[in-house]
Symmetry: none
Subunit: 398 residues, 2 copies
C-alpha cells in the first residue's frame, strides 16, 4: 500500500468580489479534484493552528509530522539542505540573494536583475572571503538565490540574529543585529556584517559583474541575508519515501527527513506519471506544486484559476490509484490573491483510499470541504491519520 | 479596519424541556443576530477545550489570546485591577465579600444583605489592621464586593491557599489552608486567618453596622475571601484597544492587557452607539454583556430569552459596521438555566466582515452554528483568526 501527499502550495483563498464572492478553487472547473472529493473524506485543515500564518517551510514540517515550534529556527538550514549542503551542529545557515546596490549602498534590485548566469563563479570568489572568527561556505542555488553557512570550531554561534535583507528596494542593506542578549548572537551578527562588507568588495571587481554592466545588466554586487537557522535533528521519516518539488526549501526539508529528492519534470501530466512510477518503489511520495502560491503572491486570480484547472487535468489517474492506495490532497496554507501573501485561513483537505469513511462532499474547495467528515484538523494530524490508514501505526497503550 | 468582539456572557445553554427541548438562543426572536450569522462564518467554540468549565476570567483571557493555564492563578488580581489597584510582584490579591455571621460565627448571608452603602467607611477601618508579617490593602468594590491585597517586602508569599468563603450559608467561615507544602503557603494562610479574625473585631464595633442593625438590616460583620492569585505579566495586547464591561473582573483583565476601560452606559442601544464611537479611535473593542449569564445563574429561562431579545434589538447597526470591519459575537461559556452555573458546553460563534468565507448558517444559536464553516474552534484561536483577517499577523516561517 502506497501513499501520495499532493500539496497544492498556497491554494486556499478568500471570497473574491470579481468572482461573485467565490474563491479560485470554487470557480475553477475541477472534475478530477471533485471526483476525488466524492470518493474520499474531506475537511478543512489549519497548517499550524487556526489563524496562524504558516510559511511553506513550517507548514511542510507539520504535514510531515514534525513540530515546527520545536525544531524551526529559520529557513536557512532547509535552503542549504535543498542544494545539497551538509550542515554541522554548530553551523548557522542563511538564505541569501544576489542583489544590486547603487553607489550609496541603496538596494535597487533585490534579485540583481534576476541574474541567471555566472553565480557559480561569483560564489567561488565569495568562498575566498576570510572572516575574523568563522569559516564561510557560500553556494549558489537557482537564479539569484544562494546559501551562506557560518562555521566555527572554537566559537559558539547563534541563529538569533536579524536579516540584512531590507525586504524592499530603496533602502540600504540592514545591519544584522543580535535578537537576544548573548555574546554568541552578538558575535554572529558581527561576523555576518563583516561578510556583507567583504562580499561587496569581492563582487565589485568581479569579471561576471563587469561583463553584466557592459551588457547593460544590473550587477550582482551585494548579498542580502535572511532566515538564519541551525539544522534541526529530524527524526527519520517512518516510510520509505521521496519528494518531487521545485522549490529548494521543500526539497531541503524532505532531504533532512531522509527522503529521496526526485528532480521534477516540467509538465504536470508527466510529473504525475513520474510520481506513480516512483511510488512503485517507495511507500510515500510528497509532491509540492508551487504555482498556485505564486499566482496568489502575484494577486492574479485568473492565473490561479488557470493553474488549478491545469493541475486538475493531470489528475485523471489518481482515482484509480486511490482504489488500493491513499491519496491526500491539500494546501500547505492559503495565499489569497487579495492579500498577496500567506494568511491563516484554513485549507481544504481530502483523503481518498480504500478504507476512509467516505462523506457527502462532492466538490474540492474551501467551503465544500468544511462540511466533510474530517471536520477541522491540523497539519500535524495528517501523518498520524495516514500512518494509521496504512496500518503502520503503533498503539499508544494496551 | 476595526474589530468589535461582543461577548454575550454565559449565553450558551442546553435543551430545556419547557421550551420543547430548545435553548433560550434557539427560542428567542433574534433577527439581528440571525442576519449577522447569515452574513458571516459560524461555528462552535470551546472557551478552553471541550467539556472544560471555564470561568469568565479564564475564558476572557483565552479570547484575548493568553494561555490561562500559564498565567491564571486566581481571580483576585483581576478583581484588584478592575477597581484600579496596582499590584506589585510579590502581592497576593483575593476577591472578598462583606458578609454576615451570627454570634456563633455561622455565615447567615454571604452578601451582608446586599449592602450598598457604607462599605467605603468599613474598608477604611479594615485598612488599619496590622498583621504580624505583611501589610494589607483593602478596597471596596461595587455593593458587597471588595478586594484584599497582602503585601510583604521581606517575606515571600504564596497564592496556593484555599478560600475562607464557605460558598454557602449555614456554615462557619473556613480556615484558610495552604494548598501546597511550603513555608510560604503556610505563612500566607496564617496571615489570612489572622486578617479574618481581626476584621471581625473591627467590623463588630463599626458605626456603619450599628446603624444597619438599628435599621433592621444585616450587619457587614465579616469578610469572606476567595480566589487568591498573583498578578500575571500579560504581554500587551497587539491592537489599540478598549473594553466596555460592567463586571470588575473583566475590566481588570482588560486593564492588565493594556486596554482602555470605558464606563458602560446602561441601555444596550446607547452602549452599542458608545462602542462604535470608541471604535472610531481604537482598533479593537471588547464588549461584555453580563446579563445572560445572570439569568443562567438564576435558572430563569424566560429572563434569559428576554435579555437575548433585548440585546438583539440593539444590534441593528452591526451588519452595516461589518461591511468594512470585523465583528465577532460569541459566548464566553455556557450557563445553562438547568445547571445554574457555568458548564463545559461549547458556545456559538460568528465572525462577520469583508473577507470571511461566508457559510450557509442563517441562525445564531448553539445548533445552527455547529453546521458553520468554522466548525469547532477554541477560545485561544479567536485572536489569531482576527489578527489574520485584519492583516496584523506575522508569518511563522517563510
Amino acid at each position: 500500500m502506497k501513499a501520495l501527499l499532493l500539496v497544492l502550495d498556497g491554494v486556499g483563498d478568500r471570497p473574491i468580489k470579481e468572482l461573485g464572492y467565490r474563491t479560485p478553487l470554487e470557480v475553477a472547473n475541477t472534475p478530477n479534484l471533485d471526483r476525488i472529493a466524492e470518493l474520499g473524506i474531506n475537511g478543512i485543515l489549519d497548517p499550524i493552528s487556526p489563524g496562524i500564518r504558516a510559511g511553506s517551510d513550517t507548514a511542510h514540517l507539520a504535514l510531515l509530522g514534525y513540530d515546527p515550534y520545536e525544531i524551526y529556527t529559520g529557513r536557512g538550514p532547509f535552503e542549504a539542505a535543498g542544494i545539497g549542503l551538509k550542515l554541522e551542529r554548530n553551523d548557522i545557515a542563511l538564505r541569501c540573494n544576489f542583489a544590486t546596490i547603487d553607489e550609496n549602498g541603496i538596494v535597487i534590485d533585490r534579485r540583481a536583475g534576476r541574474i541567471s548566469e555566472g553565480t557559480e563563479k561569483l560564489a567561488k570568489a565569495l568562498n575566498n572571503i576570510k572572516l575574523s572568527k568563522a569559516k564561510i561556505i557560500f553556494k549558489e542555488s537557482v537564479a539569484h538565490r544562494a546559501v551562506l553557512i557560518l562555521r566555527s570550531k572554537n566559537e559558539k554561534l547563534s541563529y538569533r540574529v536579524s536579516d540584512s535583507d531590507p525586504h524592499e528596494v530603496g533602502k540600504p542593506i540592514l545591519k544584522v543585529k543580535p535578537l537576544e542578549n548573548s555574546p554568541e548572537a552578538e558575535m554572529t551578527a558581527n561576523l555576518l556584517n563583516e561578510f556583507t562588507e567583504k562580499a561587496i568588495e569581492v563582487l565589485k571587481e568581479h569579471e561576471v559583474n563587469k561583463k553584466r554592466e557592459k551588457e547593460g545588466k544590473l550587477p550582482a554586487n551585494a548579498i542580502l541575508m535572511r532566515g538564519a537557522g541551525v539544522t534541526p535533528n529530524l527524526k527519520p521519516f517512518k516510510l520509505s519515501s521521496a519528494c518531487i518539488a521545485t522549490t529548494g526549501i521543500i526539497k531541503g526539508i524532505c532531504k533532512l527527513a531522509g527522503m529521496d529528492i526526485i528532480p521534477a519534470k516540467k509538465e504536470y501530466k508527466v510529473r504525475f506519471k513520474q510520481a506513480l512510477e516512483v511510488l512503485e518503489k517507495k511507500e510515500f511520495l510528497l509532491m509540492n506544486i508551487k504555482e498556485p502560491d505564486e499566482a496568489g503572491h502575484d494577486g492574479d486570480f485568473r492565473k490561479k484559476i488557470e493553474i488549478i484547472e491545469k493541475i486538475d487535468e493531470s489528475l485523471d489517474e489518481i482515482p484509480e490509484f486511490a482504489k488500493d492506495n491513499y491519496v491526500i490532497i491539500l494546501g500547505d496554507h492559503s495565499t489569497p490573491v487579495s492579500v498577496r501573501d500567506h494568511t491563516g485561513d484554513s485549507v481544504p483537505v481530502v483523503i481518498c483510499g480504500p478504507e476512509v469513511r467516505v462523506d457527502t462532499v462532492r466538490e474540492f474547495n474551501e467551503r465544500s470541504c468544511a462540511k466533510g467528515g474530517l471536520n477541522r484538523i491540523k497539519g500535524r494530524d495528517v501523518m498520524p491519520i495516514l500512518l494509521d490508514l496504512m496500518n503502520k501505526s503503533e498503539k499508544f497503550g494496551a
